[in-house]
Amino acid sequence: MRLLSLALMALLSHWRRHRVQCLSIFTGLWLATALWTGVQALNSQARSDYARASAVLAGPLQAQLLPRTGERFDQGLYVQLRRLGWAVSPVLEGRLRLPGEPAHSVRLIGIEPLSLSPASSIAGVQLQAFDLQAFIGTPGQAWVGPDTLRQLSANPAQRARDSEGQLLPPLVLQPALAPGVMVVDIGHAQALLHASGQLSRLLLAGAPGPLPADIAPFLELQTQQDDGGLQRLTDSFHLNLTALGLLAFIVGLFIAHAAIGLALEQRRGLIRNLRASGISLKTLLYALLLELGLFAVLGGLAGVASGYALAAWLLPDVAASLRGLYGAQVAGTLSLPAWWWLLGVLVSVFGALLAGLGSVMRAARLPLLALAQPQAWRLAQGPWLRRQALIAGLLLLLALGCGVFGASLPSAFAMLAGLLLAAALLLPGMLDRVLAWLARRCQRPLAQWFVADSRQQLPALSLALMALLLALAASVGVGSMTEGFRKTFVGWLGQRLSADLYVTPRDTAQGLQIVEWLEQQPAASVVLPGWRVDIQLQGWPVQVQGIVDHSVYRTRWPLLEQQPHAWQRLARGQAVMLSEQLARRLKLQLGDNLKLPANTSPALPVVGIYADYGNPKGHVLANAGWLRENWPQATLTGLSVDLAAERVPALKVALQRHFALDDSRVVEQARLKRWSTDVFNRTFAATAALNSLTLGVAGVALFINLLTLGQSRLGQLAPLWALGVRRMQLVWLGLGQTLMLSSLTVLMAIPLGLLLAWCLVAVVNVQAFGWRLPLYVFPVQLLQLAMLGLFTSLLASAWPLWQLARRQPRELLRPFADEA
């Protein structure tokens, strides 16, 4: 133990004189842990909220009864089952619109506590602890979680109003309740949702038997609780975040790896002396591992703290994305347990082992009598470059294999990872080749030194340059994909949202009245009612939309692929059209038949496929008449109205007055487009932020590398100064070297980034969301990113070079001085 502590003390003494190096290892582990933990905190928070949302009603619930068609069924069926002795409890669910701009809603769950199983709990509250009188009485109670309470800008016991002005029961805070959920007594729910005598599902306690014959046609048994498929729907979103987090983690580890390797090189003498002094290799290895562990714990603690801050900063954007994309409610504040955060330290330890174990093992095999020489290091790099090229080749093969044979999101990401890592591994070799070629063409002495010295710096800088390559390529790829998506999305939105006014009736009856009323208004030139029914196809939620036959659809509904006379066949109720993502998921092509789960409907051919960006559910377009024939319960969910722009405000006011509709139910085109674009922008806000952070981390890697290198480069630069090269000239040459290496890296990052963009739009998006986007190249954006990459490296080299410029001649003399 004494020997171990002595060895450890000796090893740690190195850091007193090499504080920058110490800082680099710490920074690497800190940033890697921070970005990884931050991203995982976002994912975990979201997933825990989905779980809370799906577990609002927890208890010995084995199954539930759902309507076979439509979303609701008659309450009479419940009464009938209770009379037959079934232990069922009714639930009514719906979205309750709340006032505000843009309009938002909560998931209103109406329950009947009296019929619930005694062992049940609601939002963590045991049934025995219920104040039944207060909950089911008048005015009742509306349970909400802290996040929803904040969203409502209300206090407990206050009575809020919905968008129609209906007064809600007094609010009661239930800390365990998921965000965006409100629980009330079923009677209140039926009133608020205008669903008198209707139910959404029946909870079953105990083992269910077969349903009575007269009920079976209306209800079906589902053995698991339905969470709305949120986990499944949002998986791709979280996988995207995880991939970015992983990239940042790797970039952070690059910093630590480079610094640990350099520290080992510099401590060869010390290690040799320790061993010569009688410290065994085993003790030395323990000491090195302990030292690494110390770094890991410190970096981990700092990383976890920063990860928390990062997650808290990004959470509102991520929550908005999830709400906009999937209708998933995620709390705006982090509420993960302390142990979860402490696990982040383990991530740091794992990262440290990954980054430093190689170096520690190298220390064990070190030929201790060999001196560290920079040029020898470069020459010894030859075999290592060849090995790296071999690994890169294997990774490229893996990427190719995943691209050709893979058909899942993990395989798409494996392809991306293989491609990126292969490119990063090939970078030092390629740079070495380019510099060797340049060296052969240089004639002037300083130019020869410039290239030769850059080549000599490569082994020490290669990890930072690899990090820069990865970060820039990711920026180019994600940037091209996002901008391409924006361009496609805006164009698509422009076509799809070309009506002037959109109306959402409260129910079908009101919708029909509005249609009738609008048809009498001379201002309204086109009125298009949209009918809808929600079904499931191969376990996937699908919306079937019924439209009336009108020529405007031919211009308003752009099709990616279509058969001849597609719209005419749809209008006759002889065909359907599908969203791209549904077609891919069901593996259907034009001409294939689709059988929808209606009793009487025959299979219909698919005559068109269209883009339906941002919709996580499948979408089928059918003729309205055909839809209502097969699904009598289909609801009239929306109306689009065309009219002259100057008449929009007057018609809107008249509509609102005549049908008592609030602002959220009558929306002008511009407002709807603004909401959609806002959702789009927020969707990519977190991605853009993580991307910039990764580029920042790569900049830090380069900075730390240059700074560490700057300290050891005095011996390389001093002879040049002594031979008559001015100090400022040396500074400019140093700057030129950094710029040359980073420019070459940027040049390689751009095609790699474009390849990455292609993989994202053509492979990852298809697997993740089900749609494929055209690949756009934005030269100005590429130029901006290239400049940003160069600026990052310029910034990274500025401090070490400034230090060189400020160095006193006395310091430069050190390599020559044998006496003061």
Binding site: Q373, P374, Q375, A376, L379, R444, P445, L446, Q448, W449, A452, D453, R455, Q456, Q716, A718, P719, L720, W721, A722, L723, G724, V725, R726, R727, M728, Q729, P809, R810, L812, L813, P815, F816, A817, D818, E819, A820
Partner: protein
């Protein structure tokens, strides 16, 4: 002519300035050689650095052919180092990223005085002709010192300033390297100012002087 007049130099220390040179006077004609001797810490290297323009004196003057070195800009001092002198250090200080051939001709080409015949002659005389494609770290200490001497003389400088040029070599190699150095200096027509501990080596030069308590004590050869 190299003339040093009343040169003072001190270094800052936590205890206050440490005077190293306290009024050094010295004269050396072009083409002649002088060994600068003294105990460790006596200021020999400091004096050499001041003459080379690597450092600046606190007071006093250094004149090269009656032109003062002090007060010159950094660019002018760099030009002096590039064109006026050749420097040889005990630790060689070769450029590790360049091969022997490029190291040998580096300063001459930098100064625009590259003469391929003279460079080839130097390489041959120094026994480096077969080593031109190697990198410095693959050479022995003696070979590296020969490269440093070749580099210093490749531009035929007016002055060769050498700081313990054979300090890292054994006695036999040391004699051999010094012989070569003196022969080549004579052929190049350069003056020599050499810092050395060794009286044996100093005896080979035309003049010798001792630095003691910051001042020069001359001893004629």
């Amino acid at each position: 002519m190299l003339a040093i007049e009343n040169l003072h130099k001190s270094f800052p220390t936590p205890q206050g300035p440490l005077p190293v040179l306290q009024g050094v006077d010295l004269r050396l004609a072009r083409g002649s050689s002088l060994a600068l001797m003294g105990e460790s810490g006596s200021g020999k290297s400091t004096l050499l650095h001041l003459v080379a323009g690597l450092d600046r004196a606190d007071s006093g003057r250094i004149l090269i052919d009656d032109v003062a070195l002090d007060g010159r800009s950094e660019a002018s001092l760099a030009q002096w180092r590039r064109e006026g002198i050749g420097l040889v250090f005990q630790q060689y200080n070769l450029i590790s990223s360049l091969d022997v051939g490029l190291n040998l001709t580096f300063q001459a080409r930098l100064a625009g005085r590259y003469d391929p015949h003279w460079a080839a002659y130097l390489a041959q005389r120094l026994g480096l002709a077969g080593l031109l494609a190697r990198y410095p770290e693959h050479l022995s200490g003696g070979q590296q010192q020969r490269v440093a001497i070749g580099r210093a003389l490749a531009g035929r400088p007016a002055w060769l300033l050498a700081d313990e040029p054979t300090g890292s070599l054994d006695e036999a190699s040391s004699d051999e390297v010094l012989n070569l150095l003196l022969q080549l200096v004579a052929e190049a027509g350069s003056g020599v100012l050499m810092v050395t501990h060794s009286p044996r080596l100093a005896a080979r030069l035309q003049q010798r002087c001792y630095l003691q308590a910051g001042c020069v004590r001359h001893e004629q050869g």
